[in-house]
């Protein structure tokens, strides 16, 4: 039943694609399309929640479409239901936001047809139960999002982003295609139920693992395949950025879990070692990029890279535990990873919507052109502040809870038998907490420079509060983030069926629907945390202190110019900017990893030229991997170019030689 509801909802979304072409030319058309998308997302989220709360039944459907010998299979199990829930709540918020800003969008005709298609593609990936449907949905998700990235295609930055994105997306899909080919073997059975039983041998399993890491990892933003992400995510319209960063990266996580843990199976401990290493590097690299970034939306995209790293650490720990039969610890690690999937999806959607509101109000993404928005856009500022505090993993908000659970899982890992893991896990833990602490610095910078201080440009000076649809979308996400941080037990309870789909587990203590107060995953005497009580405790202390002081002491207040140690020059340019905020940490970390340099150009004495201060940094992923690879590809292309200008005799000879070579190959294969 539930799968039919979802398929009908997706049909509605798909019909929204041609309707979008029609709607783009009409006033009120965009509001119609976005409200339909919002309604569909709400229905899907409700259905998914229903499946999670009443687990047990896996509903499937087979439609007579697609390849002749293979029909299109669809299925909802607990894992896909969890991701459907996460994704459609994000999609709901983005669609509500779209209702507000869609009206003033100059390129509506380039967005409206593709937006429902993108949502349909994302949802179909989660419902697909055969390789063909999966890849088709995956590719339509990629192409629809590419079209959305290219919406403002006249900006040269967008063109570059679109090019890099389409190359990476095609490359990733190719890797997944090959992975499914290996999984299916020579039998040609592409339904997931048959793939599960087939199971390739160990050697091919390694290749499948690597291919999936490339395919799903490039979509999720795993370093060093993350390079497209900070280009493409910010280039899209903001609610699409929210979808790409908050939602589409989670679809990639789903693909990874589905293929590796469900279809391939037979987890090895070194898979875990590989994933936590990649995850830790991704987290630290992502946050360091974010630290040095001066563009608000690019900063958020890099922070997505960091959080994907956290999720990979959780999954990798789970794999390491699972391979060693420590199922309770594995369940804890997977719970932490899935909880972070949910948290990051909501927080990042919230932050991108907030950035979108700022962009809409000021037409500026550069942090150094913003400032003082807390006075001009107070509600947006409040929402962005909650998002910033949440993503900096501050208690009692939600991302802290998932980070805390991951740290508890790390503390269980000395019991792992493999020496490599024992050396690796503490180092990964250190890198993870380093990344989390740096995220605090990143978001002090992001919020502090954009919303606090004095306006650094005329646009920021003239900013207006955002519309009520955007406000409603952000409010929804703020409420979700706060509730998920305070009531951890019920959220973990909803996640548990999805965890149970990955690993056989004993019931974890403190993960019940009624366990509102405490989470104590390692049992009595272990560490415990209560978001509810910490929240209550801090709120009461702050309120009590404020009340006591206002009643008993002074409440007199006076306004005066800022003192600033008597520094008389009062120009906004004297404030710290995004670059100067990051300077101490850039000096510590950036000089090694990014070869960051600072140069000061002083004008000669007597000159009235301004002095200039320049910073440069290089991206090691581009320098070491992508630029050389692109060079090799270009060189090969140059060589092959000669083949275009041969005579017909030569072409025939080459075809003949090719045929002979293939026949010899077939003869040898037998």
């Amino acid at each position: 039943m539930s799968v039919h509801v979802c398929l009908f909802a997706i049909f509605v979304l798909l019909s929204g694609c041609p309707a979008g072409i029609w709607a783009a030319r009409r006033p009120g058309g965009s509001a119609l399309i976005y409200s339909v998308c919002a309604a569909v997302a709400a229905v899907m989220a409700g259905t998914a929640l229903g499946v999670l709360v009443r687990p047990g039944e896996t509903a499937g459907a087979v439609l007579p479409m697609g390849v002749p010998w293979l029909q299109a299979h669809f299925e909802i199990d607990a894992l896909s239901a969890f991701f459907l829930l996460v994704i459609n709540l994000g999609a709901l918020a983005a669609s509500i936001y779209g209702m507000g800003t869609g009206r003033s969008e100059p390129e509506a005709g380039r967005i409206l047809p593709f937006y429902p298609l993108f949502l349909a593609g994302i949802n179909l990936v989660l419902l697909a139960a055969d390789a063909f449907t999966f890849l088709l949905s995956w590719e339509s998700m990629s192409l629809a999002s590419w079209a959305l990235v290219m919406a403002h295609h006249r900006q040269s930055e967008t063109q570059r982003a679109g090019f890099v994105y389409i190359v990476m997306a095609a490359f990733g899909t190719l890797a997944l295609l090959l992975a499914f080919g290996l999984l299916a073997g020579t039998g040609g059975n592409y339904a997931f139920s048959q793939l599960r039983q087939a199971g390739p041998d160990a050697g091919l399993g390694v290749v499948v693992l690597l291919l999936v890491l490339i395919g799903a990892g490039s979509k999720a933003g795993l370093a060093p395949l993350h390079v497209w992400l900070p280009l493409a995510h910010p280039a899209a319209p903001s609610h699409v950025s929210a979808l790409m960063s908050g939602v589409m990266t989670k679809v990639a996580i789903y693909a990874l879990l589905r293929i590796l843990l469900d279809l391939l199976g037979g987890v090895q401990w070194w898979w875990g070692a590989l994933l936590i290493t990649l995850g830790a590097l991704t987290a630290v690299m992502g946050v360091l990029y974010a630290l040095m970034e001066t563009d608000l939306k690019r900063l958020l995209a890099y922070s997505t890279v960091e959080n994907v790293g956290f999720i990979f650490i959780g999954i990798g720990l789970g794999m390491a535990f699972q391979a060693n039969g420590m199922n309770a610890a594995a369940a804890l690690a997977y719970s932490a990873a899935l909880f972070h999937v949910l948290n990051h999806s909501w927080i990042k959607s919230l932050l991108f919507l907030g950035a979108g509101a700022v962009l809409h109000a000021t037409h500026e993404r550069r942090l150094d052109a913003l400032g003082g928005l807390i006075r001009r856009m107070p509600y947006t500022a409040f929402c962005f502040l909650v998002g910033s505090a949440a993503i900096a993993s501050l208690p009692p908000l939600n991302a802290f809870a998932s980070e805390w659970l991951t740290l508890q899982a790390i503390l269980l890992s000395p019991d792992l038998p493999q020496w490599l893991l024992r050396f690796l896990v503490p180092a990964v833990g250190a890198l993870m907490v380093l990344a989390a602490a740096l995220a605090g610095a990143v978001f002090v910078k992001a919020f502090g420079i954009a919303f606090l201080g004095r306006p650094r440009s005329a646009e920021a000076e003239a900013a207006q509060e955002t519309n009520r649809h955007a406000g409603a979308a952000m409010t929804m996400l703020v409420v979700l983030c706060v509730l998920a941080g305070i009531f951890i037990g019920p959220v973990l309870h909803v996640i548990q069926p999805a965890v149970a789909a990955i690993v056989e587990r004993p019931a974890l203590p403190g993960f019940g629907i009624a366990d509102i107060a405490f989470v104590a995953p390692t049992g009595v005497g272990g560490g415990s945390y209560s978001g509810f009580f910490v929240f209550l405790f801090v709120a009461m202390s702050a309120w009590g202190a404020a009340l006591a002081i206002h009643r008993g002491a002074s409440r007199a207040t006076r306004r005066s110019p800022a003192w600033d140690c008597g520094f008389a020059l009062n120009h906004p340019a004297f404030q710290y900017g995004a670059g100067s905020m990051a300077q101490p940490l850039r000096r510590i970390f950036g000089t090694v990893v990014f070869r960051a340099t600072e140069t000061v150009e002083m004008p000669p004495p007597g000159s009235v030229e301004p002095a200039r201060y320049c910073t440069t940094q290089r991206d090691p992923a581009w320098d070491l991997i992508f630029t050389p690879v692109a060079g090799v590809v270009a060189a090969i292309a140059d060589r092959i170019d000669g083949l275009q200008f041969l005579s017909i005799r030569r072409y025939l000879a080459m075809m003949f030689a090719g045929l002979v070579a293939l026949l010899i190959l077939v003869a040898l294969w037998r």
């Binding site: 503490p426 833990g429 610095a441 560490g527 005066s560 520094f567 710290y576």
Partner: protein, 316 residues
């Protein structure tokens, strides 16, 4: 339950009441060591009282965040301090938060203070916020790694349980505990803005960090921040005492006599720690801001080394 709540309330009151005294004591020690008479040890109380009754001057473009932040900072630090066993373990709220949460609560306080520093839009606020976040970005992971090594020794991250484990006596002398002690002292010095990382007595200097952040604050807001800083010092001293000198702490279900001994021992530990801090601060010079990275990097590596050793063998 009621007893637990009473003990918890008493601890919160005691922490708050003694915090300015510790600050006054450290100042007195430092004054005597530099052959000055110094102010009375009660001077911080007078300062806070005076600030509380003055009007607060706000910068023209300070937002609501600037006014809310002092209370949030104070509450987060006070709650964190309430969770550290000072004179008794198993307080009513100790289950609500373990060591990682305490570290994170201090992180929350710092986050809001740094934002408040940026709010007025002044260059000193910016310099303070940016440097504070640099120090935090190194001190916080170092602290968590130290927490890891302590948690691995005790088998839990719950601070009450760690303290009781340290009291049992079968912990013994361990390499990892030694590493953790050095690391924790480094982190405590940095987090409290003491010499050699920052100078709490300085003003109008380009090297200041914490003082630069709170430069725009006045009146009751400044009082809250000063009080929060004092509570934070008590917190770190109590934490060091609980972990590395747990003697005298009353255990679960102890009678009034044990509690009195616990309070006496705690006050004694604060006095000794204040003396040592004063000695340390007068005998060392402040370091350049950009050398703080190396200083705190040492703490981070000590924590990592301790954790690695414990991953190799639980007995190290």
């Amino acid at each position: 339950m009621l007893v637990g709540l009473l003990l918890q309330g008493l601890q919160m009151a005691l922490v708050l009441a003694l915090a300015p005294l510790l600050v006054g004591w450290v100042r007195k020690v430092k004054a005597r060591l530099t052959r000055r008479r110094g102010a009375s040890v009660l001077q911080p109380y007078r300062d806070i009282f005076r600030l509380l009754h003055k009007e607060a001057v706000l910068a023209d473009n300070a937002s609501w965040l600037f006014r809310v932040a002092p209370y949030l900072v104070f509450a987060a630090i006070w709650v964190a301090a309430a969770l550290v066993p000072t004179y008794a373990t198993s307080l009513a709220f100790s289950e609500a938060a373990d060591l990682i949460v305490i570290v994170a609560l201090l992180g929350s306080a710092r986050f809001f203070l740094a934002l408040a520093a940026l709010d007025a839009g002044t260059s000193f606020g910016g310099i303070g916020a940016s440097r504070e976040m640099m120090i935090a970005a190194l001190a916080e992971p170092a602290m968590i790694m130290l927490v890891f090594s302590l948690a691995l020794v005790a088998g839990t991250t719950s601070l009450s349980a760690v303290a009781e484990h340290m009291l049992t006596g079968d912990v013994g002398l361990r390499v990892t505990l030694g590493l953790a002690l050095i690391g924790l002292v480094i982190v405590a010095v940095a987090e409290n803005g003491r010499i050699p990382v920052d100078n709490p007595a300085t003003h109008l200097e380009l090297t200041m960090v914490h003082e630069a952040m709170v430069l725009e604050y006045s009146g009751r807001h400044l009082a809250m921040i000063e009080l929060a800083a004092a509570v934070k010092l008590v917190l770190y001293v109590s934490l060091l005492g609980t972990l590395f000198a747990p003697w005298g702490i009353a255990q679960f279900g102890a009678g009034p006599q044990a509690l009195a001994i616990g309070i006496g021992a705690w006050v004694g530990k604060l006095a000794v720690a204040g003396l040592l801090l004063g000695l340390f601060e007068t005998s060392i010079a402040k370091m350049r801001v950009f050398r703080v990275g190396e200083f705190l990097g040492a703490a981070l590596l000590l924590g990592l080394l301790g954790t690695l050793l414990l991953f190799v063998s639980r007995n190290l």
